[in-house]
Amino acid sequence: MPKPQKQHCNDHPGEGSSRRSFLNKLWIGLGIVAVIEFIGIVTAFLRPRKTKAKAGDFGTIIEAGPVEKIPLDSVTAFVRGRFYLARLEDGGFLALSRKCTHLGCTVPWVSGEKKFICPCHSSAFDIRGEVISPPAPRALDIYHVFIENNIVKVETGRRIKRTEFRAEHVTYPKKRIDRITG
């Protein structure tokens, strides 16, 4: 079948072939558009599914308890919220993600050594989440902590990445300021 067509084409080169090449280009162009659309649809289809937020699950605010109930220089695990509430010696609070920044294992707090030690490739972090020993490349991620009516609350919806510990990551209870000013 294609053969006679080809001959026909050879009989009339000129305009016929330029029209043909234009149509060919049009087809190719449309084909490319179709492929891009197809890829777009597939990736949109596969985009992370929204999980319904259950109470106490991701995306919600977790109440960790009244300020004075949390001892100084301690780490408390909140399994539902998947974070640790660390209270530093100076009374400040930090909510640390339990996910190791190396490859994502769950890091336990080893209270004897006062370190988070990752069981997977033995990265270690101090109470502020700062890296003590590699391979972890960054300090542990944190969540926003705020204190309302003397109750410590953690916003677990958004994990905040950071390279290293900085003072502004720590939330202090109002009292401390009161004490200083008053």
Binding site: P48, T51, L103, T106, C118, P119, C120, H121, S122
Partner: protein, 461 residues
């Protein structure tokens, strides 16, 4: 074209049914000759009628390509059976595996066969890849089949990785967490890709349905497309590469023999032996299953599946940017361009390229066997660029510098061996390949057996 030489009324019911399925000249199939002719034409759809006698030698192929095909078929068979019982939901997956093992007749055996065939396929396909490399079967006209083969190997690896998650036990959950965790280090597209694969920020329900769809539909479909393509290219290349000694002329094809029964019989024997082996192995050894996945508790140590442990071990020594991206990408590019390099000698069909090639391959293997463990030990106990070079970013102190050192060592080895033995580039490239191969195997062995709790080096006992 009147083909109905036979009057249907005179046939039995079964013959009439048979006739409706296979109409045409071959009817009636009554004698052994007829059957043979019939099956010959069926099988030979994929095969030439005659094949060069010398390509039948077991020491050319070691039956490895055929064994891969057998394993793939066993995986398809048992995989379909598993699908009837398995439920791809986080709460149900583990229980359905337990149910399969405890309450389904032969359930454990079917799971074992699927597990061991999958792992076996990696080994067998890898050995097949090595035999193709070392018989120089990737030169023209087989260049593109090498590429298809790499594609097949990639699909096999992905199948194993996605299948690894299915039981959703501790082993599965954390190995997949680590493997997908590596993606985070790929610049720019990494986090996006990781999110896409996992279906969210963590390994969760969406990850399981993603992996399930990929494992049971996408990858099998790719295999079904790529495998016939692979075989067709073998046929197009005029059959397998003809094995020869370095002195023999490449042009001599030798005698040809009938494919049926010479080739087919050999293949059936290999297939049956392998089948029996996998069956017995699966009766003796159960596929591992640990306790149900617990996202709050990582086992110590957590390792990637054994075929990725080599990469994980590199991660212990190089910055992730190099261990997970730059080095693997360079190796993949090198493998893809391997058949398209301009070679100085025609070596297709010669095991290890030449007599000199054999010697230099051995030297390369020895060099890597000595250098790799020394390198691992030195990096573990002595070298610490990150501490020596304070203030330099880790991607340079832990990445670029060790990488450049290793690269310089390899380049030095290449120049040294090429001059010393006045090698053709065929032989020199083979030596480098052996260097990488040996180093990779040693890294893998170290990661599997020599890393204990906290991934510290230890002696296996």
């Amino acid at each position: 074209m009147p083909q109905h030489e036979v009057i249907p009324e005179k046939l039995t019911l079964f013959q009439r049914i048979g006739h409706s399925i296979f109409p045409g000249k071959l009817r009636p199939v009554i004698d052994r000759q007829g059957y043979r002719r019939f099956f010959n034409t069926l099988i030979l759809h994929f095969r030439p009628r005659r094949v060069p006698e010398r390509t039948l030698r077991f020491t050319l192929t070691w039956g490895l390509g055929g064994m891969s095909v057998v394993l793939v078929s066993m995986l398809f068979g048992t995989g379909v059976l598993l699908k009837f019982v398995y439920e791809p939901l986080p709460g149900k997956a583990y229980e359905s595996i337990l149910y399969l093992q405890r309450h389904v007749l032969f359930g454990q055996l079917i799971r074992n066969i699927h597990h061991w065939s999958g792992n076996g396929l990696i080994i067998v396909a890898f050995l097949h890849f090595l035999r193709v490399f070392f018989t120089n079967a990737f030169h023209s006209p087989r260049q593109f089949n090498w590429i298809i083969g790499l594609g097949l190997f990639f699909v096999v690896l992905c199948s194993n990785l996605t299948g690894y998650l299915m039981p959703r036990d501790q082993l599965a959950f954390w190995a997949v967490t680590i493997c997908t965790g590596m993606l985070e280090y790929v610049p720019a597209a990494g986090p996006w890709l990781q999110n896409l694969l996992r279906g969210g920020p963590e390994v969760g329900p969406a990850t399981l349905s993603n992996f399930y769809a990929v494992h049971t539909a996408l990858l099998p479909a790719l295999l079904i497309i790529l495998m016939p393509f692979h075989f067709w290219r073998v046929r197009k290349a005029g059959g397998l590469v003809i094995p020869r000694t370095p002195e023999e002329d490449a042009e001599i094809r030798g005698e040809s023999v009938e494919t049926m029964p010479n080739l087919i019989l050999r293949e059936v024997v290999v297939a049956l032996v392998l089948f029996a082996f996998i069956l017995v192995f699966s009766m003796l050894f159960n596929a591992p299953l640990e306790s149900q996945a617990n996202p709050g508790l990582s086992p110590n140590p957590t390792k990637a599946p054994w075929y990725f442990v080599g990469i994980q071990e590199m991660l212990m020594h190089f910055h992730p940017l190099f261990a997970f991206l730059i080095i693997p990408v360079l190796i993949i590019v090198a493998l893809l361009s391997l058949p398209y390099i301009d070679y100085q000698a025609h070596t297709a069909g010669v095991w290890f390229t030449s007599f000199k090639g054999r010697r230099t391959a051995l030297i390369a293997a020895l060099a890597a066997t000595i250098a790799t463990p020394l390198g691992i030990l030195a990096d573990e106990y002595i070298i610490d660029f990150a501490a020596w070079m304070h203030g330099v970013p880790a991607s340079i102190s832990n990445g670029l510098i060790p990488f450049a050192l290793v690269l310089a060592a390899i380049a030095g080895f290449y120049i040294m061996i090429k001059r010393r033995y006045s090698l053709t580039n065929n032989e020199a490239i083979q030596a480098i390949f052996v260097l990488f191969l040996t180093a990779f195997l040693i890294l893998t062995v170290t990661g599997i057996w020599f890393r204990g709790a906290g991934m510290r080096l230890m002696w296996p006992l």
